[in-house]
Amino acid sequence: MANTVQLPGTQLGLDENIRIGPGLKRNHYDGSIHVTESGIVKGMNNMAWMEGARRRYIPVKGDLVLGVVTHKHPDYVRVDINAPELATLSTLAFESATKRNKIAINLGDLVFAKVSVALPDLEPEVVCCNMRTGKADGMGVIQPQSNSNSIVVNLQAARMALSPECAFGKAIGKHGPFEWCIGVNGRVLITTQKMKMTTQICRIFPLITFLTNNQIEGLVETALRQ
């Protein structure tokens, strides 16, 4: 059952106590589990999920996402996080931001934020600091740099690049210094010292979805050979 390719609509014969992740849905009357996203069924311990080439992000509380500012209002800013709705980001939800001392944030800026409210019928809300401690924890407006490009990849590729088991980051690192900011919503910002390297990484990033580590290393090698 695990590691097979399934199409949406298929019913999986899984234990009812299993915890399900993205791509699977449970029928609450039946207890049966259905596939909603085509891809490969994966399972580990007591969890099961789908790994497919999905691009649309459904916000989940606690996710770290990379969004783009689309509208600016006096007290808040609307951020596009590839979700069905635009998210709101209050201008006070930054480290050391008060009503008098506001963060400079403009249209088209990239923002690394955490989803704080994500309910099925509401607009999602994101924040740029830890609401309890008030610290930024790495979140905030990403300052513009040279040779940095942002692309939208499918969620699986973003998750793989974040995972420590995947050899993508290490393979790129062999060719030169680079920096990337990966949002779980599929948006990725890549910065290197050379424009060509950034371009190449942006071209191969969406292709790593279904590759094994060896194949990824081979792909990176051919792409960044110079």
Partner: protein, 612 residues
């Protein structure tokens, strides 16, 4: 819906990339993406793709009444559709400016440039003519949509074949495919659209006369960044059919001319591409392989998906079910009720003169086309719009038999496949059984090893002392430890007792020394007195001599008595002390000896305990 937002980082990067000559996908400024053309099953369907941008065009024709103003010309209806399938920002109902713009450009390029011979489309002047419907749909918008739409439209028009018509007085007979081969449209010229974007190089400070960089075939990300776009519809003969310039920066005339030159060069390649594709398609059809547009996934490297054979089977089944029957059907649209065509129109379901290799259609209740339903009914009704139909029972019976045979063939093939699968499964099981035997042998060897180890361990265990012995030894050890403690306590007490004795001995020795000192002093005094006596004896032998002598002698005697007493006393004390010291020393030696013995005993016992 909306597009994914465009960030400043992407904008800056796209601009910098273009300024430095590295476009986002590694192309040069005037290089076009990979173009490809695919044709569908019906003549007149074409899917064109430029990179990931895809467009579908479909051309169909129907008989209609010509317009009164132009009675000897056919009609062309041109429609461009941008469905939400192509991009999240497209809305089906809203007529966006972009859609209208594209529609106008293509219409100008294809229809108004008169590339299609309209007069050929006339059947009977003033009465009947062909109406060509060209419907172009965008399938995916990844930049440069106008080029893709135009390419698809031209491909469809060049591929399309309309049925032959013979006019016999008032009768118009539309021939079916096997009566007369349908003809291609005559195209006077073939216009193709080439889009060039331009961006102003704003790295320089000066405001006027900034250089404009031309970028052929811009991608989505580049399109957002460009200062303007110029689309030129041009044909092989360098005749411009349509042109559209949009954006917020002007191009001057020399630049526009250079753009047209670039476009003219590209058009040759595009036309060649379509012509080779059409030739290939014709060859394939002659061989009998009717092409289908492949469901290709957009340029993605799928990698290792594992065993997807069952998914591929499902896909094949779906494809098979969706196949319409391979029959050239006369798509005769409803005509005006005034005119009745008394045709001996036989609804002959005719196969092309070609052996079918792939398509076997089961008789399913598919909603695919209206025409299929006609064949399902055994009664052919006269069509409402005046076209009469004759029903031939013999033919239908033959057709039924043929279909039954085909079904049987198919079922037998599926059975064969199942059997093959079963055989494979059983072979697998055999192999597994053999593997299992090997595994069993290995396990037996391991078990033997384990038994041996078990035996060794048992023997070792027997050699070890039992629990009782262990308890005895530990209890002995405890006992010896207690004794040890007691002995140490005793040792300490004895030490304490000896302490004062030792002190006493020391004090007595000091006193002894003092007494000896006194004796020496007394001896000295005595010697002095003797000297004095001598002096006095020598000096005073007068009256005083007797008295003084007696006195002196008395004194001397006294002193001698004292001396002897002292000496005696000293000797006595010395002896006493000596005795005491000896006594103490003997005691010490005794006790030290006993201590030694005890220590030795303890050591032995400790060794014994350790050994146990």
């Amino acid at each position: 819906m909306r597009e994914p937002a465009f960030s400043k980082a992407e904008e800056n990067f796209a601009k910098c990339a273009i300024f430095e000559g590295n476009r986002l996908d590694g192309r040069s400024y005037l290089e076009m993406r990979k173009c490809s053309i695919e044709f569908g099953q019906e003549f007149g369907t074409c899917v064109a793709s430029i990179g990931n941008t895809r467009a579908l065009a479909h051309v169909s024709c129907s008989l209609d009444r010509p317009s009164e103003v132009r009675p000897s010309e056919g009609k062309i209806v041109f429609k461009v559709e941008l469905p939400p399938l192509a991009s999240p920002s497209f809305d089906l109902n809203k007529k966006s400016a972009f859609a209208i713009d594209l529609n106008r450009l293509l219409e100008k390029a294809i229809v108004q440039s008169r590339c299609i011979d309209i007069e050929e489309l006339c059947v009977r002047a003033g009465e009947q003519c062909w109406t060509l419907r060209v419907e172009v749909t965008a399938l995916n918008h990844e930049g440069n949509l106008s080029d893709a739409l135009c390419l698809a439209a031209m491909g469809a028009l060049m591929h399309f074949k309309r049925p032959e018509v013979t006019v016999d007085g008032h009768d118009v007979k539309i021939h079916t495919a096997d009566e007369k081969e349908p003809t291609r449209l005559t195209l006077h010229h073939k216009p193709f659209c080439v889009t060039i974007g331009y961006i102003e190089d704003d790295r320089t400070e000066s405001d006027g006369d900034r250089q404009k960089i031309l970028v052929l075939d811009p991608v989505r990300q580049e399109e957002q960044v460009l200062s303007g776009i110029i689309s030129i519809a041009i044909n092989k003969h360098r005749e411009i059919c349509a042109m559209r310039v949009s954006g917020n920066r002007e191009l001057d005339s020399s630049q526009i001319l250079s753009c047209t030159k670039i476009a003219a060069n590209k058009v040759k390649d595009l036309q060649e591409l379509i012509e080779t594709a059409i030739k290939k398609d014709d060859k394939q059809r002659k061989k009998g392989r009717i092409p289908r547009v492949n469901c290709t996934v957009m340029d993605s490297y799928l990698g290792d998906l594992g065993d997807i054979s069952d998914i591929l089977e499902q896909i094949n089944n779906i494809k098979m079910e969706a196949q319409p029957e391979v029959e050239i059907v006369n798509e005769v649209e409803p005509m005006n009720e005034d005119e009745e065509v008394h045709g001996d129109e036989e609804m002959v379901e005719s196969k092309p003169d070609v052996t079918e290799v792939e398509v076997i259609t089961p008789k399913t209740e598919s909603n695919w086309s209206e025409t299929e339903k006609w064949f399902d009914n055994s009664v052919m009704q006269a069509h409402g719009d005046g076209m009469q139909v004759r029903y031939d029972p013999g033919l239908t019976q033959m057709r039924r038999e043929r279909d039954a045979l085909q079904l049987e063939l198919k079922s037998r093939e599926t059975k064969e496949k199942e059997l093959v699968k079963r055989v494979r499964r059983l072979e697998k099981r055999l192999n597994d059984a053999i593997d299992q035997d090997q595994i069993v042998e290995k396990l037996k060897a391991q078990v033997a090893k384990r038994d041996k180890r078990f035996k060794d361990l048992n023997a070792y265990l027997k050699k070890l002392p039992t629990m009782d012995e262990f308890h005895q030894v530990t209890s002995e050890r405890d006992r010896l430890e207690c004794e040890n403690k007691e002995l140490t306590v005793n040792f300490r007490e004895i030490k304490e007792k000896l302490g004062p004795y030792i002190e006493k001995v020391q004090t007595m020795s000091t006193e002894k020394h003092q007494l000896e000192k006194e004796i020496r002093d007394l001896y000295q005094a005595k010697s002095e007195l003797e000297d004095k006596l001598c002096c006095t004896n020598v000096t005073s032998i007068d009256n005083k001599e007797n008295n003084s002598q007696e006195i002196l002698e008395e004194k001397i005697e006294q002193q001698r008595l004292i001396e002897t007493n002292l000496m005696a006393r000293l000797k006595r004390e010395r002896q006493e002390r000596h005795d005491e010291v000896q006594k103490y020393e003997s005691e010490i030696s005794q006790q030290s000896k006993s201590l030694q013995l005890m220590m030795d005993a303890l050591k032995e016992k400790n060794n014994e305990v350790e050994k146990n």
